[in-house]
């Protein structure tokens, strides 16, 4: 910085210091107003106000989501066809798979799955897919509600939001 500018900056700083004293001499009636507001209860945490708005919204959201889940669940549930499998058929399938060299346990599971897939009608599969979708939506909604509650809880406990946590 050039010497001339340095000197001017010092003048600026000195003037700022001097005029700050004059600004500080300006007295207000803040204390009276603050004490009055405190007595009126304006100093209460905003937590109550947050819940005042959040509680009805949360209740409406829960009711809405529950209704949606019921509707989806009912729509996705199709009549399930039951099929009786003869013992001999299951044994035959098990033996077939076991002959491929796999362990008996895996062979049994695979055989059961294959048999189940063979016996299931396309309608069964559609119904199961619809139920899966419903369950996924319900799980996602529950997660969203839990996250919303966590955020609201945090908002309430952090009141007031703009104050430093410790002295600086």
């Amino acid at each position: 910085m050039e010497p001339e500018h340095r000197k001017t900056d010092e003048l600026v700083a000195a003037r700022l210091d001097r005029d700050a004293e004059r600004e500080l001499a300006d007295t207000g009636s803040v204390a009276l107003a603050v004490m009055s507001r405190m007595q009126r209860g304006a100093a209460e945490p905003k937590r109550r106000r947050v819940w005042l708005f959040a509680a009805p919204a949360l209740a409406a959201a829960i009711v809405g989501v529950a209704s949606l889940a019921v509707v989806l669940g009912t729509a996705g549930r199709a009549p399930v066809q039951t099929t009786t499998v003869a013992r001999g058929e299951t044994a035959a399938a098990t033996e077939t798979v076991s002959e491929t060299g796999r362990s008996k346990r895996i062979g049994l599971i695979t055989a059961a799955e294959r048999l189940s897939a063979m016996l299931e009608t396309p309608r069964d599969l559609e119904a199961e897919a619809a139920r899966d979708t419903t369950r996924r939506i319900a799980r996602g909604t529950a997660r969203t509600i839990a996250q919303s509650l966590a955020i609201l809880g945090r908002l309430s406990s952090e009141e007031p939001a703009e104050t430093p946590p410790v002295a600086g």
């Binding site: 001017t8 900056d9 003048l11 005029d19 600004e23 007295t27 507001r37 703009e162 104050t163 002295a167």
Partner: protein, 198 residues
């Protein structure tokens, strides 16, 4: 009660008076925490001018500045449990004041942006704090909010760069640069006679 009020507050504190002030502040805070609103009232009276002066940096009218100052003290009251009485009270209070002032400025900006003030007349010119005006009017007219607040914390509160940086939420380097740029802006906008004048 009267002993605290009777003591004149000086901006230029010696280490001894500063230490005494810290102790007295801590005692008042402890009493206020115990529900003594009178003790909190003493704290407010001790610092109201300082908070009001800082609030003026973020507002256009004296009324708005008083509102910001009031809001600051109400926030302090609500957050008093979190204050560490082993530390000085003033920097903590001023940090809350800075954040309250910023919130106020942001709120005013949002109101203008969403057109709530369309029907209102243009914002009034900045009211001078004193009858004959000070250089701080130029500061309020020329510089952005964060710079005004940083400059006040330096010249009005005599805070060191680390404390200013903590209050405005910037790094020390950035804070020093902000203040340096502010000095340059004022130097360029004011002639030498204005700087020499009172």
């Amino acid at each position: 009660m009267t002993s605290v009020l009777a003591q004149p507050f000086s901006l230029v504190e010696t280490p001894r008076t500063a230490e005494r002030g810290v102790t007295e502040d801590a005692a008042l805070v402890r009493r206020a925490r115990a529900g003594d609103e009178g003790a909190f009232g003493q704290l407010v009276r001790r610092y109201e001018n300082r908070v009001l002066a800082l609030s003026r940096r973020a507002t256009r009218t004296r009324q708005d500045a008083e509102d910001v100052a009031q809001e600051t003290f109400l926030r302090v009251w609500r957050a008093l449990e979190r204050f560490d009485t082993a530390r000085p009270f003033a920097p903590w209070l001023l940090t809350i004041a800075v954040r309250t002032a910023r919130s106020h400025a942001a709120r005013e900006h949002r109101k203008r942006m969403i057109g709530l003030k369309l029907a209102e007349p243009a914002p009034p010119p900045i009211e001078p704090a004193t009858a004959d005006g000070t250089i701080w009017e130029e500061v309020d007219r020329l510089l952005p909010l964060t710079t005004r607040l940083a400059l006040w914390l330096k010249h009005g509160e005599k805070l060191a760069s680390p404390a200013i940086a903590a209050a405005i939420g910037k790094s020390e380097t950035a804070t020093r640069a902000i203040i340096s740029r502010a000095h340059r802006t004022l130097r360029e906008s004011l002639d030498k006679e204005a700087l020499d004048g009172t």
